[in-house]
Amino acid sequence: MANKMKIRAWIENDKTTVKAIIFHPMETGLRKDKKSGKPIPAHYITEVSCEHNGKSILKCMWGPGVSKNPFFSFRFAGAKPGDKLKISWVDNQGQAGSSESQIS
């Protein structure tokens, strides 16, 4: 599970569209294990930062209300084909991951 992410980024009419999905359980901490009846500890991504050539373009702050395997999409200006796009995340249990992609 750890550190899995898919990123697609492409340029259309001078704007770059980014679509990304991070594979993460996003547990709210409110669910209970069906067998043992014990609460499943909260485990969700709190922060995601997106960088274009090292410059921050979007910062997401998430709570447990974001769906499992969160998908998000956004658009920004000023990129060229071949530019680097880096997305990194941190969750509430201190785990982290990041992935890099080229804009096409």
Binding site: K15, T28, L30, R31, K32, T46, E47, H52, K55, S56, I57, L58, K59, C60, M61, W62, G63, P64, G65, V66, S67, K68, P70, F71, F72, S73, F74, R75, F76, A77, G78
Partner: protein
């Protein structure tokens, strides 16, 4: 008598600490508060969560914000929401679901080159409004859309 005095002092101290904490939270500029706004995410009531995030509950309804979400969501665990706005200088877009255990779902800080457009997938406990709050040029605007949820997506 002595006992009462002790209790009184303790209560006073507790309130004092809380006041200082709140004051510090409100005084810290948004840019410094780049770290995850824990208080806003852990607040369980909608207007309070909004207040914790933005420091105010004064919002202006705006036609320039479009919240795109399904009319009926069969599965509340995955509700795709798109917020688009034509407002200039968008600084932040946040999504709230008032009926959820934690009303603040997601908050996106935009940079100057980022468009006023964001898509995300959020959980919804039951039928409710999805409220988008957009901060543009220092002001707060809002728009909402009702989503019918047939199967709740927040555990249980």
């Amino acid at each position: 008598m002595l006992n009462n005095r002790r209790t009184f002092l303790k209560a006073g101290m507790a309130t004092g600490t809380l006041a200082i904490a709140t004051g510090a939270g409100l005084l810290t500029p948004r840019s410094v508060l780049a770290a995850w706004p824990e208080k806003a995410f852990k607040t369980k009531k909608y207007p309070a969560a909004l207040q914790a995030l933005t420091g105010t509950d004064q919002l202006t309804d705006s036609d320039t914000i479009v919240v795109k979400a399904p009319d009926i969501a069969e599965n509340g665990a995955v509700v795709s929401v798109t917020v688009t706005t034509s407002l200039p200088k968008v600084e932040n877009i946040s999504m709230f679901v008032p009926v959820n255990a934690f009303p603040l779902s997601a908050s996106f800080d935009m940079s100057t080159t980022t468009d006023g457009f964001i898509t995300g997938r959020i959980k919804m406990a039951k039928t409710s409004d999805v409220i988008a709050v957009v901060k543009a040029d220092g002001k707060l605007y809002t728009a909402k859309k009702t989503v019918k949820v047939t199967l709740g997506g927040c555990g249980g």
